[in-house]
Symmetry: C2
Subunit: 717 residues, 2 copies
C-alpha cells in the first residue's frame, strides 16, 4: 500500500472480513473464497465471534483481536452494527471500509441515526467509507476482489458505478468481447463519504488505470468532480454514462439514490466542458472505452469513409449527421488522392467521400489496404472508417481468400500505426469473429457490427482529440481584481438587507466589468422626468418601477414602453407610481428607471445560477416562448474559457438564427462571446452573486443591448 | 407458379440462366450450383452459345432454343445485350427477368439507350424486370436462390432491398440470431420497372411471407407504396428502414440510385400514417422484425417494467422517454397489484413502476414469474419489459439454479400466451445464450442484450398495435362532392391563364368548403374604400394589393396594417397603388383587399403540396422564424383521417405551445383538426390544386383566423 495515493487502501496488503461466514450463500463467505481462489498475496483476517476458522484461515472473535492492522475491511454486518464496527476499525488502524449493508438514511429515521453515528466515528478515526449499500470493490492488479464479480481479466479500465447491476453489465460485456480488462471497481453505493470526484482522483493516480469509466445517476458534489475531471482528462480519457437523463429517469434515480440528479443536459454540457466523454447510450460505453484504449489520437476532425456498397455509405453518412455535436467533417479528398484511388478501383467506384469500391475488392480484399494507404497519406484525412463486408470475404466468396484477407488486416494495422491516424472497421461479420477481424483487433484496430456504434466510436475519437487541443489552447478566463465600484454596490445592498439588486445597481455592477450597458436615469420626481426627457430627446424610452418589494414589474403594471417627450413621460411616471401603490400599498419605492428602447435584434437569454451540486453555471439560449418549450439552451461551468463561450453559441439547436436567416445579417458573435466571458469573470470574482438574468439581450450585427438585467445575491452567511 | 399472384414468376417451376458459365467466379456458374445444391425441383435451362452442358445440365445455345418456356430468367450478360435478351425472353414466354448488369441510364447516354430499348421490349412482351443492377432474388420456399446469399433458412421474412450489402447485412444478422428465416428476397436495383409498391403487393399476397422488411433509399413512386401499405399493414406488419435521412445521406443516396429521396421526415411521417413501422436505426431492423414475428399484439399502451436492480430501472425509463413518439405510457399499477407484489418481494423492493425486485430474485429466479403473473393480471398493464440479469442466475450465483430458471422461462412463456400480452426480456447475459434464455425464446419471448433495442421492440409492439386500432377506427375523410362555387373560381383562373388565385378567390374557394374565413372587401376606388370603412368601422383592417404580377406583396410595399377610418384607409389605398406601380409599372392590378386585422394568437403554418414522389401532402407546424430553423413540422398524405389530423398536432416538438404556456389558454385543437380535415377534403376533390399556403393561421382558445391564404393551381395539361 502506497500511502501517497488517494484512497490508498484500495491497494491493500491486508484485508479484514467483518462478518465472515461459513455459509456459502453469504457475501462474508464468497469474498473469502474469491480472495483465496485469486491468491491474494497479503493477510486475510476473517472476523466472526463464533468461528475459529473459515476456509482454513484462522478467524478472530473481534476487530480488536486482529493480530495486526488491516488496510481495508469488507463489512458484511447489518446497518445497526456499523457505528460500533467503524469505531473499532478506526481504533485498529483500518483505513477504509467497504460497507455492503443498506438500511441507512435512505430507508428510515432509525437508519439515518446509524448513518450519523457511523460518519462521526469515521471522521474521528479517519476511516474512509465506500458505500454503504455498495455492491463492493475490487483491484484486480492486487488480486483483491470484494465485489462478487468473477472471471474478469486485469487491465486498464477503472470502473466506478452507482449501480451494481450496471457494473455487472459493463464487466460482462467487456469480458464477452474478450479484449478489455479492469484495474479497479468501486460501487459507490449511497456515497456518504467518498464522492465521484475523489474516486476519479484515485483512478487518475493509479498507474494500472488507463481509462476511468463511470456510471453516474446523481452527484453529491458535482463541482468537485468537474474540477478533478478537468485535471485528469488531458492525461487519461474519462468515459461517463450519466443516467436519469429524462424526467422519468430522474424520478427513478431519485427514488433509488436520494441523490440530486439535476437536468441531464446541464450535467452533460458541464462534463463535456471538463473534457469528459459522455456516452449517449448505455451500449456505447464499452465500445467507446475500447476505441479510446487502442486507437491513436487523430490530429484533426476530417473523416474519410471507405465502403464496399452504397447501402453502407448511405447509412454511414446518415449516422454521421446524427452525431453533429461531435463536429466531425467528411474529409474533402485531394485530387491526387482521387486520381490514385481511380487507379486502384473499377470505373463504377465512387471516389468522393464516402468512397465506394463498387465491387473492386470482391476478388482481392487487399484493395482495402491499397485504398486506405492512399487515403491516410492525404493530408486532409485525419481518420478512416471502413464499413461493410470486410473480414467476411473468405467466408462469403472463397476460403482461398483467407490468407490475403489476414495479410490485409496486418497491413491495415501497420498503416494505422505508421500514420498515427485511427481506423475503425464496421463489418457485418463482426459477431462471427472471423480470423481477419481477430487479426485486425489484435493489431489495434477496433471492429464493430453496428454502423451506429462504429460511427459513435470514430467520431468520439475525433471529437475527444479536438477537445483536448482546445482545452490546452484556451485556459479559463479569470478576473483577478474586483472593481471597487462593483463591490460597493453589493456591500450597500447587503447593508440594506436586500438580496435583489435594483436594476440600475445591476446595470452599474455589470458596467464596472466593462460590459456595455445602456445609459439610464433614475427619476424620483416630475422635475427628474423633465431632465430625463431632455437627456433622451433623441430616442423613445422605457420606464420601469424600481422597488425591492415588486419583483414582477409587468404584473404590477410598472412598465411603460416606447415613450417620447416630457408629457408622455410624465404621464407614464405618475401612472407607474399609481399602479405600484395599487399593487402593493406598502411597497418601498426607490424611483423609476428611464432607459432608451433597445434596438430590435435577436432575443437572447443569458443566465447564471449557483447549482447546489455543480456550483456557478452560465446558461445561454435564444429568448422567447418557443425556446422555453424546446429547452434549447447550453450550459457551462464558471469560469469559462473563450472556447467554451464560443461552443455555447454553437451548441444550441437554434444557433442558425445567430448566423442570420430570412436575409437578416448575422449577429456579432465575438461581442456575445466577450459578453459571456465577462459575465463569467464577474461571477467568479463576486461569490456573493447567486443568480443573474439578462433577459432579453438583443443581439445585432453590431453588438448587443442588455434590455433587462436582474442580479440576485446570496443570503449572507 | 400461380398466375393469380402479382409477380408470380417469383414462384417459378422453371428457370433460365442467360449467360450460364463454367467459370466458378461468375454468377452464371454460382447460381447454377446453388440451384442444384438446394435441389430446385423444376427445370433449369442454362443458356450459353459455347457450352453443351454446365454442371452436367444440358445447355442451350440461345433463348430461342429452349425446350419449353421458363417462368423466370437470371440474366448475367452485359447491358448492351439486354434489349435483345429481353425481346427473346418475351418471345419465348418468359415472364420475369432478374438483370444483374449495371451500366444503364445511371452511367452513360449509351446506357440510357440500352435501358430505353430494354424497357420497350419488356412492355411489348409483358416481361417484368427486376433491376437492372440488382444483387438478385430468391424464394427459399421454392428452393430458388438467384441472390448469391447462402446458408439461410426458409421462414416468414420477405426482404426487398435497394442495397445488396444491406440485404447481406440483414440476412447475416438474422442467420446469426438463429431464429428468423426468409421467404423472398428481391434486390430492386435501379427499379426501372417494378416499384416498391408492387413488390409489397407481392409480399402481401405471398402465403409464405408473414412480415415484409424493406430497405429503401428512394422511391420512384412513393404514392403507390403508401396506397399498398395502407392495405397491407392491417394484415401483415411492414418494417422499413429508410436511408438517406440526412442531407449528407441524401447526397449519397442520389449518387447511388438516381432516385428522388425527398425529406426523410416527410417520408417517415407518410409511411407511419400508412401503418408502416419505420425503424430508426439500421440495427433495429432485425430485432423489430423478430418481436413482431413472435409476440402477441398488446391491447393498450401501458407498459410495466420489472428489473432486478436500480440501474436497469433508470436506463429503461430513460430509454422509454427517448421513444416519446411511440406514445407508450408507464402503467399505473393497481393497489391490488402492489399489495400482491409486496407479498412476493422483500421490503426494500420498489413497487412503483418500474418494479425493482431489490435482490428478491437472488435466491429464487422463479420470483420473476410470480411477479409477472401478478403484473399481467393487472387490467392496467398491456405489456411487460423485464430488464437486468434474468437468464444468468445459474451462471452467476449457483449452477443448481439452472433447473428453476429454465422452469421460470417456461412459466413466463405460458403467461405471455395465456394473457396474450407481450413480454420482452433485456438480459446482460443474452450474448452468452444461456439455456434459460434459449428456453424463453423458444417459448416465443424475445430476448435482447441492449436495453435501447429491447425498449425499441416493446414500444414498437405497443405503438404498432395502437396504430392498427386507430387505422381501423378512422377512415380517411373523403369529400365526395365539389361545391360549384369553388369549381367556378378554379375554372375562371384557368380561363384567364392564371396558376395563382387572387387572395380573395382563395378565400372564397376555401370558404366554399365550410372553412371559416374572415369577411373581406375588394376595393377598386376611393368610393369602395369609403364603403369598406363603413363596413369595418368596428375594427382595424389590413389592406393588401391584389395583382397576378406581384407575388411578393410586402417587397412591393403593397401591404398596410392596423388601419382605421376612411381617411387612413384612403391614404393607404393610394399609397399601395403608387407603390405597386413603382414596383412594376406593367402590373395588372385587380384591386386592394381589405380585411379585419386578425386577433392575436399562436402563429401556425399549414401547407399543401403535390410531391412528385408521394402525391398531395399536408404540412402542419408553428409559424415564425425559429420553427423554420428547427424544421419542426409534421406531414400527412392527403386524404387524412381524423386520427391523422390529431396526430399532426401532437407530433411537432413545439406542440406544447398549443396547450398554452406562460399562462396562455390552450388553443381550440378541435377547430384546427377540423380545419386540417377540410383542407384535405378540398385538395382531394380539386386535383387542380398544386399548392396551398396558409401562413399564418392565428389560433386562439376559441378558433382560428386564416390571416393569409395562397392557392396555386397546376399548369393545365
Amino acid at each position: 500500500m502506497n500511502n501517497d495515493l488517494p484512497l490508498s487502501f484500495l491497494n491493500p496488503t491486508s484485508i479484514a472480513i467483518i462478518g465472515a461466514s461459513k455459509n456459502p450463500a453469504k457475501r462474508g463467505y464468497q469474498a473469502m473464497r474469491q480472495l483465496i481462489r485469486d491468491k491474494f498475496s497479503g493477510h486475510i483476517y476473517p472476523v466472526n465471534p463464533k468461528e475459529d476458522e473459515i476456509l482454513d484461515i484462522p478467524a478472530y472473535k473481534s476487530i480488536e483481536a486482529l493480530p495486526g492492522p488491516a488496510d481495508i475491511a469488507l463489512v458484511c454486518t447489518p446497518a445497526r452494527t456499523l457505528p460500533g464496527v467503524i469505531k473499532q476499525c478506526g481504533e485498529r488502524g483500518i483505513k477504509g471500509a467497504v460497507i455492503l449493508a443498506g438500511g441507512f438514511s435512505e430507508s428510515s429515521e432509525e437508519g439515518a441515526g446509524y448513518e450519523r453515528d457511523m460518519l462521526a466515528a469515521a471522521n474521528k478515526y479517519g476511516v474512509r467509507l465506500i458505500g454503504p449499500n455498495t455492491s463492493g470493490a475490487f483491484n484486480l492488479h492486487r488480486q483483491m476482489n470484494l465485489a462478487g464479480i468473477s472471471n474478469l481479466q486485469p487491465g486498464g479500465l477503472g470502473l466506478i458505478s452507482q449501480s451494481g447491476n450496471m457494473a455487472l453489465s459493463i464487466t460482462t460485456e467487456a469480458a464477452a468481447g474478450g479484449y478489455l480488462g479492469f484495474s479497479t471497481y468501486v460501487g459507490v453505493g449511497n456515497q456518504v463519504d467518498i464522492s465521484f470526484g475523489e474516486y476519479l482522483e484515485y483512478l487518475a493516480a493509479d498507474p494500472n488505470t488507463t481509462l476511468p469509466v463511470l456510471y453516474i445517476e446523481g452527484f453529491k458534489d458535482g463541482r468537485k468532480f468537474l474540477d478533478v475531471a478537468r485535471e485528469v482528462t488531458p492525461k487519461k480519457p474519462v468515459v461517463v454514462y450519466k443516467a436519469g437523463r429524462t424526467t422519468l429517469g430522474q424520478t427513478s434515480a431519485k427514488s433509488h439514490t436520494g441523490a440530486l440528479a439535476g437536468s441531464y443536459e446541464m450535467a452533460r454540457d458541464l462534463m463535456r466542458q471538463a473534457g469528459v466523454i459522455v456516452a449517449r447510450r448505455s451500449d456505447h460505453v464499452i465500445p467507446l472505452a475500447e476505441a479510446l484504449s487502442i486507437s491513436p489520437q487523430p490530429k484533426g476532425t476530417r473523416l474519410a469513409i471507405l465502403v464496399d456498397g452504397g447501402g453502407h455509405a448511405t447509412i454511414a453518412a446518415d449516422t454521421l449527421a446524427d452525431e453533429a455535436m461531435s463536429r466531425v467533417e467528411l474529409a474533402q479528398l485531394s485530387d491526387r488522392t482521387r486520381t490514385r484511388l481511380a487507379g486502384i478501383l473499377p470505373p463504377a467506384a465512387s471516389l468522393a467521400n464516402p468512397v465506394d469500391v463498387a465491387g473492386g475488392t470482391d476478388s482481392n480484399p487487399g484493395v482495402f489496404a491499397d485504398c486506405v494507404s492512399v487515403m491516410l497519406e492525404d493530408e486532409g484525412v485525419d481518420a478512416v472508417l471502413i464499413g461493410g463486408l470486410y473480414g467476411g470475404y473468405a467466408m462469403r466468396f472463397d476460403p482461398a481468400m483467407l490468407e490475403v484477407e489476414n495479410e490485409t488486416s496486418i497491413r491495415l494495422a501497420a498503416l494505422q500505426h505508421h500514420h498515427q491516424k485511427p481506423i475503425v472497421v464496421q463489418s457485418l461479420y463482426a459477431p462471427l469473429k472471423p480470423e481477419p477481424l481477430v487479426t485486425l483487433r489484435e493489431g489495434g484496430i477496433q471492429v464493430q457490427e453496428s454502423m451506429e456504434i462504429a460511427v459513435a466510436c470514430i467520431t468520439t475519437l475525433i471529437s475527444h482529440a479536438r477537445h483536448q487541443r482546445r482545452l490546452a489552447a484556451h485556459p479559463p478566463y479569470i478576473v483577478e481584481t474586483r472593481p471597487d465600484t462593483g463591490q460597493a454596490i453589493i456591500d450597500k445592498a447587503r447593508a440594506e438587507n436586500r438580496t435583489s439588486l435594483f436594476e440600475h445597481e445591476a446595470m452599474d455592477l455589470v458596467a464596472a466589468h466593462d460590459i456595455q450597458m445602456p445609459r439610464y436615469q433614475v427619476v424620483r420626481s416630475e422635475t427628474d422626468v423633465a431632465a430625463a426627457a431632455a437627456e433622451f430627446a433623441d430616442t423613445r424610452v422605457a420606464m420601469k418601477i424600481i422597488s425591492q418589494d415588486i419583483i414582477h414589474k409587468s404584473e404590477a403594471r410598472g412598465v411603460r414602453l416606447r415613450l417620447r417627450g416630457k408629457d408622455e413621460m410624465t404621464r407614464a411616471y405618475n401612472e407607474i407610481l399609481d399602479s405600484a401603490r395599487e399593487y402593493n400599498a406598502d411597497a418601498r419605492i426607490e424611483g423609476v428607471l428611464v432607459a432608451p428602447m433597445a434596438k430590435p435584434g435577436v432575443e437572447i437569454i443569458i443566465g447564471v445560477y449557483r447549482d447546489p451540486v455543480y456550483g456557478p453555471v452560465l446558461m445561454f439560449g435564444l429568448g422567447g416562448t418557443l425556446v422555453e418549450v424546446l429547452k434549447d439552451v447550453s450550459f457551462r461551468a464558471i469560469p469559462l474559457s473563450r472556447a467554451d463561450a464560443q461552443e455555447m453559441l454553437e451548441d444550441i439547436k437554434t444557433g442558425e438564427i445567430l448566423d442570420g436567416v430570412r436575409g437578416a445579417r448575422p449577429v456579432d458573435k465575438d461581442a456575445l462571446i466577450d459578453l459571456l466571458l465577462r459575465i463569467s469573470g464577474l461571477v467568479h470574482c463576486h461569490p456573493e452573486i447567486e443568480e443573474i438574468d439578462f433577459n432579453p439581450v438583443l443581439a445585432t450585427h453590431e453588438g448587443y443591448t442588455i434590455a433587462d438585467a436582474r442580479v440576485i445575491l446570496s443570503v449572507e452567511a
